[in-house]
Amino acid sequence: MKMWKMSVLLTVASLFLVLSAAQAGKIDEIKARGTLIAGVKDSQPPFGYVDENSRQIVGFEPELCAALAAKLGVKLELKPITSSTRIPMLEQGAIDLIAGTLTHQIAREEKIDFSITYFPAAQKLLVKADSGITSVADLAGKKVGSAKGSTSEQNIKKAQPECTVVSFETYPEAFLAMKQGKVVAVTTDAPILLGIRNSDDNPADWVIAGEDIAAEPYGIGVPENDSKFRDFVNISLMEMWKSGEYQALYDKWFGEKTNFHIPLTWTMELWP
């Protein structure tokens, strides 16, 4: 019984410690720690993935985080996240920020805060090159593959109520179902589709088609109610755009020489 009481006391005490740590600003906390802990994707090239040779997480988003860490004058530590773990991990303080293809949604504002958009993705379709499908209208009465819990799943149902959505655990599974002919299209953010397409043995068999089904603006996820930290992230992103550092980074991962060529056609929101 005594042991039991003791463990309850300890739990309560540690809870208080965690809470009081959360009271201090994120920036002070990071500086005191000497490291910025960033949550990034580890299987989503080119946003964040494990490099085959170095066994390190590399990509567009890890380098964005590296720039933020440099501005704070601290080291960078990368933690792998998935779409379903990222928001709880940020809430619990396991990571300082999320830079992992996180769409800025109003519904998510209830739990965390967001930076300005750093990547304006849009939802598209991936179809067989000879399928004749060129727009969402062609999907009426057909089956479309997607991944569970994604915003794409909901958007496609709205855009084409007459199609049947079949959702899988991951996008590679949805792609396999399309290769077998079980679904006629896979839908999600265009950069992710590009990654799936280029991972195939014959990328030329597949094309990205259709209009923009929905905007998927990616923002950096930061803890709720810490406006100093959010200001820091926002202003850093804008400075990177103005200095050309952002464009150089973009060119490295999405430029013409890469497998993921997406022309840079947008302008970041810049505050005067």
């Binding site: 519904a107 209830e110 569970k148 899988f168 396999l176 077998q180 002919g181």
Partner: protein, 232 residues
Amino acid sequence: MHYSFNWALIFSDEYGRWFLEGLSITLQLSGLSIILALVLGTMLTTMRLSRIKPLVWFAVSYIEFFRNTPLVVQIFFWYFGSDPILPDFFKHWLYQQNIEFAIGVIALSTYTAAFIAEELRSGILSIPKTQLEASRATGLTFLQAMGYVILPQAFRIVVPPLISQFLNLIKNSSLAMTIGVMELTYMARQVEAHTFHGFEAFTVATLMYLSLSLLVSLGINQYNRRCLRVSR
């Protein structure tokens, strides 16, 4: 810890409807699979107890194979693995249909049939051998003796373990979500993904599974007690 509970959200029009749709698919999936599994299980156990060697071998290898491989692997095998061995013209037609649901039913019933066959066999073996001999002596064929004398008694004896198999099947039906069947667990995850209220979503799903299972087990027990009671 600043989790704010919001139960009203779960029972709102949209999300409430999702849960009901999911529950309805779970019911259809489990109901169809239970019937098929019972039929298939009975056939298997009859084969296994027959004296015809190839049938016995088939039944034994079927039961061991399906009992000893994970259900998820079987589901993926039926769904993704069956593709290369199907003829093209048939595939084209088949994939336009609701193949995900059909594969769910096939996987669940073939898997559960192996367990039901074993339960039934133990029930049959518990019936004195003399009964089979006596019925054969009166001129019934093996199948007639099984159908009229042995199986009706065996079924009554194995009702309690069969209930466990049915309940297992209902719970296993949640695995059909891995191939995109929109059953109850799928819908609960869907609600969680849209609302970020996982605690509420999964509590509702848990309660739905619990009441479904309790209803099934109560119902069958009552039926057994009232209508099938045998004095032994």
